[in-house]
């Protein structure tokens, strides 16, 4: 543990997460699913990055790879490096990984209904994390578990209750309490509000933002809800077929959208000012992740696509220091998407 902590100091202090050229494949018996392909991401202290994309885009695989928790087999990290607080997650021993998970980095999973162990009380599940990572007695861990429970808005009297005695929203709060129990520096929130109804969603989001400020942590917020991204994120990365096709600050991605797919996502949102207008979904389906084209995977659905898009490997294009887009159409200097022209 001490070695791990020492390493942290040697790297850029403000950078909590640094992913370079990460590729994750699921190697099945007769085919290979290319879930994440050559992505790079950086996240600084106290920042929230929204990782957006449709189902199957590789968001959860990315998060699991960060924790080095991909189900293996079939999940394999083919290339790249992942540094969390300076620690290379792919080179650490199992013991070192266990000491980082839950303390420096935590994850909130998508489905609160199945994320909690049904045969242990919520108190035991929160205190377990504290006991593992902090030098404290069982009683002290239990006391801190009570505090955490109160922090997420659950009365401490309920600490001895079991997951089946809680509603979905309450369970998600417990999952959040477990994730935050040891004040992690990086929190991976994998669609933490998807399984909840809208009112509870708002409560959980507010609470997460408060806690983020309180604990000074960085967060990757995985979602396909652009409304939530606009509400809480500082930066946005849009994933499609295992690649980050556009990333930048919230302002850059939302107000100066460059990628046709991102534009498609915005177009498919209902327009609150024109309630009569029909929704404009992106036509077609995401490509089969076992047979991704050499060029742009979005080309078959892209209204701007040219014949060469599908075969030519894409180049990343920077529009500012932070705004990066993966689209060959910008090889033509006059190219503009419609959203930008408006």
């Amino acid at each position: 543990m001490s070695e791990v902590r020492e390493n942290e100091k040697t790297v850029d202090d403000s950078l909590v997460l640094d992913i370079q050229d990460l590729t994750v494949h699921y190697e099945l018996e007769d085919e290979t699913v290319e879930a994440v392909n050559h992505i790079s991401l950086q996240l600084k202290k106290k920042r929230i990055l929204g990782l957006v994309g449709e189902t199957g885009a590789g968001k959860t695989s990315t998060a699991l790879a960060i924790l080095n928790l991909l189900p293996n087999p079939p999940g394999v990290i083919k290339s790249g490096s992942i540094r969390v607080c300076g620690n290379d997650m792919l080179k650490l021993s199992q013991k070192e990984l266990e000491s980082i998970r839950g303390s420096s980095i935590s994850m909130i999973f998508q489905d609160p209904m199945t994320s909690l162990n049904p045969v242990y009380s919520v108190g035991e599940q929160i205190a377990e994390s504290i006991e593992l990572h902090e030098d404290c007695t069982k009683a002290e861990a239990w006391e801190k578990a009570e505090e955490m429970l109160q922090l997420v808005g659950i009365p401490k009297e309920r600490i001895h209750e079991y997951p089946h005695q809680f509603s979905g929203g309450m369970k998600q709060r417990v999952v959040i309490a477990i994730a935050l129990a040891c004040n992690p520096k990086l929190l991976l929130a994998d669609e933490p509000t998807t399984a909840l109804d809208v009112t509870i969603q708002a409560q959980v989001l507010d609470m997460m933002c408060d806690l983020k400020t309180k604990f000074d942590m960085a967060m990757i917020f995985i979602t396909h809800d652009l409304g939530i991204v606009a509400q809480i994120c500082d930066e946005v990365a849009v994933m499609y077929a295992g690649r980050i096709i556009e990333q930048g600050t919230l302002r850059e991605v939302f107000n100066h959208t460059k990628h046709p797919y991102t534009e498609g996502l915005f177009n498919s949102l209902p327009d609150i000012e024109n309630r009569e207008a029909e929704l404009q979904p992106i036509q077609g389906m995401m490509p089969d992740p076992t047979k991704l084209p050499e060029g742009c995977a979005f080309a078959p659905r892209c209204p701007y696509a040219k014949p060469e898009c599908i075969n030519t490997p894409q180049k990343e294009r920077s529009f500012s220091e932070t705004h990066k887009v993966l689209c060959s159409a910008y090889d033509d200097p006059t190219f503009r998407i419609r959203r930008e022209e408006c």
């Binding site: 999973f109 049904p118 009380s121 079991y162 089946h164």
Partner: protein
């Protein structure tokens, strides 16, 4: 919880009535009576008198009624053959049966659960394949054959262990316990493995790993407790079977247990002994099942809640008038 237990124990009454009636009717349908066996050298008058005394000149239901009247007073009847109380006879034989049942189930628990866990965590590996082949062998080998082979090897050839009876203490227990335990081990290993395989895919194990719980603890603490319910069910069922007397194994090893007593009594048409022993076995199995239910509640809080709600289910709160409209 206690109300649930009382309810389960009360269920013994209809079960006992049904089981005893079945035993009476089936023994009546079998050819011959105890009088044919013990009355070999008796005169016709003596036989008629004995038939009258034991109720064989009346219908089976009359005899059943008389027996049940005695049972209501806690009397399991008197053995026609041994001329002693069936209760005494049963209690004489019970310790040997319990010893054998306990030893074989213990053997199965100690060996099978770790093996099943290992097979599940290393799914598809060498341990998994070997243990599954061994389990298949264990399930396929008939007890009487395995018992005889063990006797041939360890008693006749090597001379290490006694081949019959229970007079040598622990030494005489080894072969019969292993004979019964083999089938048990096979079933329990397979159950543990499949139950663990189901649980090992659960999301909450990913949560446990994500908070830094070491892999060994993830399996032993988080997964095993969730996989225990089917394992406990199998242990309970097997223990119930074993307490009823392992008829075949007890005969092969001349083990003085309840199983042999029942078989001897059936052969001699000793209706009172058969019925008494089977009623006692029913009671024992029922007690084991209640214990299993209590253990369930300890393992899984959701079942505890179910038991608790079962006692209040019959008392719905009064709905205020007009609310339904």
């Amino acid at each position: 919880m206690h109300k649930y237990i009382i309810k389960r124990i009360l269920m013994l009454i209809p079960v006992t009535i049904g089981v005893s009636l079945l035993v009476f009717v089936m023994l009546d349908l079998a050819p011959g009576t105890v009088v044919d066996i013990i009355g070999g050298e008796m005169t016709t008058e003596e036989i008629a008198e004995l038939n009258h005394e034991l109720g064989y000149d009346r219908s089976v239901f009359y005899r059943y009624f008389i027996y049940m009247k005695g049972l209501l007073h806690g009397d399991l009847g008197t053995s026609y053959i041994y001329k002693v109380d069936v209760w005494k006879l049963y209690m004489q034989r019970l310790p040997a049966t319990l010893q054998l049942a306990g030893a074989s189930v213990f053997l199965a628990i100690v060996l099978s659960i770790p093996l099943g866990i290992k097979a599940a965590t290393k799914h598809g590996g060498v341990t998994d394949n070997l243990s599954m082949v061994a389990a298949l062998l264990g399930l396929s080998m008939p007890n009487f054959w395995l018992g005889m082979m063990l006797i041939v090897l360890f008693s006749n050839q090597l001379g290490w262990l006694p081949s019959y009876g229970a007079t040598d203490g622990f030494k005489s227990l080894i072969l019969p316990a292993f004979t019964i335990g083999t089938g048990l081990m096979a079933t329990l290993t397979r159950t543990t493995r499949s139950s663990m395989l189901d649980v090992l895919r659960a999301d909450y194990l990913r949560t446990a790993r994500s908070k830094g719980v070491p892999e060994k603890k993830v399996v032993k603490k988080h997964a095993l407790k969730n996989a225990l319910i089917p394992i406990i069910t199998i242990i309970g069922t097997q223990l119930g079977n074993a307490v009823g007397g392992a008829v075949v194994t007890e005969n092969v090893f001349a083990w003085p247990g309840v199983g042999r007593l029942i078989i001897d009594a059936i052969n001699q048409r000793d209706t009172n002994t058969v019925t008494g022993c089977i009623i006692m076995t029913t009671v024992m199995i029922c007690i084991i099942q209640v214990v299993v239910d209590v253990v369930y509640a300890f393992v899984d809080p959701r079942l505890r809640a179910q038991y608790a709600s079962a006692k209040t289910r019959k008392k719905p709160e009064k709905v205020q008038g007009g609310a339904a409209a």
